[in-house]
Amino acid sequence: MGNDQANKNLKIVLFLCTWGPHAAFQQLQDKDCRIPAQVKMVRIPCSGRVSKALLFKPFEMGADGVVLVGCGSGVCRYGVGSITAEKNVADTRKILDLLGLSRKRLRLGAFSPEEPQALLDFLNGFIEEVGAIGKSPVIRPVKPEKHNDHSLAIKEIIQKHDVYSCQECGKCSSACSLTLAGKQYSPRAIANAIIGGKVDDPQVQKDVWACLTCGICYERCPSAVNFPEFIRDVRAVIKSAQGNGNEAHGGFFGSLSRTMTSPEIKGNHWNWLPEDIKTDSSSKVLFFGGCAPYFDIFFKNHLAPSTLDSVSDSLRLMNFFDIHPRVLDDERCCGHDLLWTGDRENFLKLAKLNVDAINQSGAEEVIISCPEGYRTFVKDYPQAGLDMQFKVTHIHEFLEREISKGSVGFKSLDRKITFQDSCRLSRHMEMAEPARKLLARLSPLSFTEMTDSGAGAICCGNCAWSGCDSFSKALQVKRLRQARETQGDLLVTSCPKCQVHLRCAMKDPFFGKDLEIEMMDLTSVMAKTICWE
């Protein structure tokens, strides 16, 4: 069969539990059975220990298929291993579908030591099935080049951000989110250490990776030293020398973004779109949805966020104004997180693919609800020299524009609300106002700002899925306490990640229900109450 030849080139990773199934596998080896050569076996302690990040990693590296083989449920030596494995595989398969890689490339199996032949048949069957889909379109992303001497690059970055103009006033260090969360941390000291040539000092590097890039320090700095962007650029240099190592969630989200840099991937980004939402593939307005669909799947079992609501409800609000936007099936991650964790090469690839796809679509206006995506499109794409033949509008601006035309009102909302600013909108883009104009149009029982709000708001404690630690938690706890102090019962948000990170703190068993407060994106609150008058 011609297929056999093609199938020979497949790369299949087999995660094999060391207990039952490994015994079966060994028998195959002992009996000299032909285990298909495409299968690269990785022996693991328990199928439940293979996280979504690990299940996904081989796909980032160009694998055509992944098999996770453990013990049947009820037989797991550790009790919950098989159940966890089932959940992880189910979620990762959904993610593969969204990416357009097909869920069929990932399979879960369970075999006891008595079933060597069944295991062999299972593997052969899987190879046939993957062969029918074909090779993975993913090209293994290149590792950044190793620069041995980066002193010149660092010097240029210092100059670019004019860090020399630092007056050592220390305002940044006294306002820094991390310092206020109790960490021994000083942006001033980091800046000056780097100016002093100490970028290779292990402590300095740790500090560079710890920064939340929240931007409070820049907000306060009298010399306008843009510390977060400075840190971002330093990361790009030291990453190429040393790698990162601070990724939260096993680096899953970085893997996901890098996988999307393969041009041949044809995503299925909108396969979840509810039926009541109308889109139009010839519209001049394009809605860019961002990564919320991935967040909801990834955190389903742990935090069960519904960040997708911000995407659906943005679309519903556009529909309300008779705008049926176009959406891009092969929309990719905007690259924000890669850029802010030092992976500039892959950020640029994503940026180019997105801009090319949108330019080709002929869309004249792109509307974005994700604050990170918005910042990236408005600031970082043009800075990277991309030629964008469309204008970019944030959903809050769009809504204000439409609502101010008149005849639109809001039904009363039986809640006491407060508002969580996103660092990207309220500080980086200096856009704390549009959300407030919209909030002022609502009719809730009450709207009370938290102690710190607007450009001075406390952030959600994490950025770009990197460096999450006890200080992140402390910040989140502090923020949620502020929210509770307003006596509100609904925390209105504008960023899907704020919801994920704050929910994470709420689920901390030590705090019980102390920090709980319902969260809803501003677009959802508006979609629920908006009406023609």
Binding site: R316, K405, V408, K528, W532
Partner: protein
């Protein structure tokens, strides 16, 4: 032959006559119809009642005075009270809701907060231009392009951009109002299915 009789009414200083002239010129120079304009002031012409009578027609206009308006745009209470009962049953009544209270009016009318919107734009004087935008959207008495161009050509040099903004505000407000009526009539007043 299609003929439209329009009365724009208010008081001196609101730019009522200019509004009438813009409408008439948009119809004739822009939309290539016939139009006439009569202006009349009340006894106390400064700050007193004032109205512009415009006739727009596909054919020759023999008599330039309005007998029974198809469109009444009222920017003052006195003007509203004076003309409201003359408007044809199928005609349009438009008011500046900040200046006019309709009281027991038992027929349909269209309201725009043109004075407040003009204040928000920084120039109370532009309420008339907002009203023209509103008339254009609601009654389609003149075409959008012709009216917009006439506004731009009729206002003092250097203020074109601001006035076009005002015109657009009134126009958008009118469209929104019509849309809101449509949506409510078809039972889709909200965003959720």
């Amino acid at each position: 032959m299609q003929k439209l009789e329009v009365i724009i009414t208010g008081f001196g200083g609101q730019g009522i006559v200019l509004a009438g002239r813009i409408l008439g010129q948009a119809a004739s120079l822009g939309d290539h119809k016939e139009s006439t304009l009569i202006q009349s002031y009340g006894p106390e012409s400064r700050g007193g009642a004032c109205s512009a009578q415009v006739i727009i027609s596909d054919g020759t206009i023999n008599y330039p005075y309005v007998r029974q308006p198809d469109i009444l745009a009222a920017m003052s209470q006195a003007g509203f009270d004076k003309f409201v009962n003359d408007v044809r049953p199928e005609g349009f009544i438009l008011i500046d809701q900040d200046m006019v209270k309709v009281k027991g009016l038992e027929r349909d009318y269209f309201a725009v907060p043109s004075t407040r919107m003009a204040e928000e734009l920084g120039r109370k004087m532009m309420a008339n231009i907002i009203m023209i935008g509103f008339i254009t959207a609601v009654t389609q008495s003149t075409s959008l392009e012709a009216t917009r161009q006439t506004v731009s050509a009729s206002v003092p040099k250097g203020t074109e951009e601001m006035n076009i903004k005002a015109f657009n505000k009134g126009y958008d407000y009118g469209l929104s109002l019509l849309k809101a009526r449509d949506k409510k009539a078809s039972g889709q007043a909200g965003a959720l299915a």
